[in-house]
């Protein structure tokens, strides 16, 4: 409060137009500096741990290293190698197919749960909301480990239920279902909460108006609720798209118990990890990381562009 006396009082702008303008301009410049001061700490981390690794990955990807040849400039050879490498292409094909299955499943489960939770208010509904969300608080590694036990043909409940004919969810044929189940279990609750929060944000008067016009619950859900939360749905789609395309933890963790059904190149990320840390091929691994990052970026960008009318997200 002591500063009150020393602070210059603003004068009526109309009386002295010229000084006011210059003061505004000066204030604009100091404002800019202050803005940058607030932004600077984040900007440093952003440059060091996002921009630099991306550029560095690109730089590394332009070289190749052989025992005999040493490090040499390879141009885009690593990329031509990647896009003709069946291991990489299979991984890409796997995550694309997997996304097409797991994203709709997760979102349908989350949406159905959120719509039901939004329509009933009881103690059990509140309890359910928490329980459905709980897996989000569990690290993906632990989730994968637990499901690994549950899938286990030695002592898992499936074995006890079906005997020897029990489906092993990590066999080559069932891998898809095994992963879909783990990922849905892990993330559906988180998406459910986001959708639920968006539903709670809708003014109830809208439903009242619809009911007067003769709309039933189903119509209200499909024609009012879902369109009104489209920006939340797009947010979730983007999250799950980014998440599934870089699928890593579950396959990595479940590899040892899959009897070889999960290969070291099952997804591009697993492949890049194994190239780098088992075979020390950092240049080629960087090319794959960079290509993957680029593909995800373009994919998400195109998706957001196509849905730009719908959502406020990233506007």
């Amino acid at each position: 409060m002591a500063t009150l006396d020393t602070a210059p009082r603003p004068q009526a702008p109309a009386a002295h137009p010229a000084p006011a303008r210059s003061r505004r301009r000066r204030r604009g410049r100091t404002q800019g500096l202050i803005g940058w001061a607030f932004l600077a700490p984040f900007a440093v981390v952003f440059l060091v741990f996002l921009v630099a690794p991306l550029l560095y990955a690109f730089y590394l990807s332009l070289f190749s290293k052989g025992l005999a040849t040493g490090e040499r400039f390879a141009g885009l050879d690593n990329y031509t190698r990647a896009f003709t490498d069946p291991a990489f292409l299979n991984g890409v094909w796997f995550v694309v197919r997997f996304s097409l299955v797991v994203i709709p499943v997760q979102i349908l489960v989350a949406l159905a749960a959120a719509l039901v939770l939004d329509s009933v208010t009881s103690r059990f509904a509140r309890f359910s909301r928490l329980m459905i969300f709980v897996p989000y608080a569990i690290p993906a590694v632990i989730g994968a480990v637990i499901w690994g036990f549950l899938y286990s043909p030695n002592f898992g409940p499936l074995e006890q239920l079906f005997g020897d004919g029990a489906p092993f969810l990590l066999s080559p044929d069932n891998l898809f279902y095994g992963f879909t189940n783990v990922v849905t279990w892990q993330w559906a609750g988180y998406y459910m909460i986001i959708i639920y929060a968006a539903l709670q944000g809708i003014d109830p008067a809208v439903y009242e108006a619809a009911r007067i016009d003769g709309a039933g619950s189903w119509q209200i859900a499909t024609r009012i609720k879902i369109p009104m939360i489209s920006s939340a749905l797009i947010l979730i789609l983007v999250f799950s798209l980014i998440g599934t395309l870089q699928f890593f933890t579950e396959p990595q963790v479940l590899t040892p118990i899959s009897n070889g059904a999960i290969s070291t190149d099952i997804t591009p990320n697993v492949y890049a990890f194994n190239l780098a840390f088992r075979f020390a091929q950092f240049n080629y691994a960087s090319a794959i990381s960079f290509a993957l990052g680029f593909v995800v970026f373009i994919g998400v960008y195109v998706f957001l562009f196509l849905t730009r009318k719908r959502g406020g997200f990233l506007k």
Binding site: F38, M131, A198, G201, I242, V296
Partner: protein, 306 residues
């Protein structure tokens, strides 16, 4: 609007009036069955974890009552004792590391996000549009694509296998900045900031005493998201750490998982340790979520309600 509905209710024929509540009841009965089914599915693995934690090494595989019910003995406390003493108590160290990384990375990410979000929302500085466009692009860059180059970069400056190799990259949270910006733009009125400036408050004081209290819900949300993100992170520590003394609990348990497959536990059932260790490791976060319910449930909608 409410007047209209009330008249509609009154005007409705008696059969309709009697039918409406019954229909609502039936619907809510169906809803509850659906919810119960979902709860069963989402809780089942945790139930398994609790039950399996009470079984001895042998009981895990030959349980008389199946995998989803308690076995003969009750070995939970023995299992816990083994967990905390095995290999000189390395498990406790892993938990401590997880806590350190989660708090260090999470708090760091939140502080940076609050400052940057405030800057984007409330200052018009040169380069703002371009920087914000870059930020939005960064939200779409998959973070795991950065792990391998980050590892190589850190190893060039000999920083791999240190605490910093996990904490510093975890401070990067473009989505946190985005949430802060969205929230701050709505929740902190310019007039209030200007009034504080007129009263002679310095910029930092305006931020700390006027803006920050108004941003609290978003701060808690971003803090929770980034702490959970770092606690649950696996790829980054797996890549940058090689000394098992520095592992967070996620990488540690996976180490046991690998060893258990090779049957290399040295007389101790590593499977039991994995199960009890998993149970203990998920308790802190579940407790945090239950305790902070009113914050995160509202907060998670920030990004989606625009």
């Amino acid at each position: 609007m409410s007047v209209l509905t009330r008249t509609a209710d009154v005007d409705a024929p008696p059969t309709g009036a009697a039918g409406a509540p019954r229909r609502r009841n039936r619907r809510s009965w169906g809803s509850h069955v659906f919810l119960a089914f979902l709860v069963l599915y989402f809780v089942l693995p945790l139930w398994f974890l609790v039950v399996a934690s009470t079984k001895s090494g042998g009981g895990l595989f030959n349980s008389p009552n199946g995998a989803l019910w308690f076995g003969d003995g009750f070995a939970l406390f023995d299992n816990l004792r083994t967990l905390f003493t095995y290999n000189d108590g390395i498990y406790l160290r892993w938990l401590g590391n997880s806590l350190l990384y989660a708090v260090g990375g999470g708090v760091g990410a939140t502080v940076l996000a609050v400052l940057a979000g405030y800057a984007f929302a409330k200052f018009d500085f040169p380069g703002r549009r371009l920087t914000f466009a870059l930020l939005l692009g960064a939200v779409m860059v998959p973070m795991t694509a950065l792990v391998i180059p980050t590892f190589v970069m850190l190893s060039e400056v000999q920083m791999t296998n240190t605490v910093w190799a996990v904490v510093l990259p975890s401070m990067l949270s473009p989505f946190g900045v985005y949430l802060m910006r969205v929230y701050c733009a709505d929740a902190v009125p310019d007039e209030l900031l200007d009034a504080a400036r007129m009263d002679g408050a310095g910029e930092f004081r305006v931020f700390r005493q006027v803006a920050l209290p108004l941003m609290r819900p978003a701060v808690v949300t971003v803090l929770l998201l980034s702490v959970v993100g770092t606690w649950n992170n696996y790829f980054l520590p797996l890549a940058v750490l090689s000394d098992s003394q520095l592992f967070p609990v996620t990488v540690g348990i996976n180490l046991w998982q690998g060893l258990a497959g090779a049957n290399n536990g040295g007389g101790v059932s590593l499977y039991t340790l994995i199960i009890v260790g998993s149970l203990v490791s998920i308790l802190p976060l579940i407790a945090a979520f239950l305790g902070l319910q009113k914050y995160w449930q509202g907060g998670l909608s920030i990004g989606s309600l625009k």
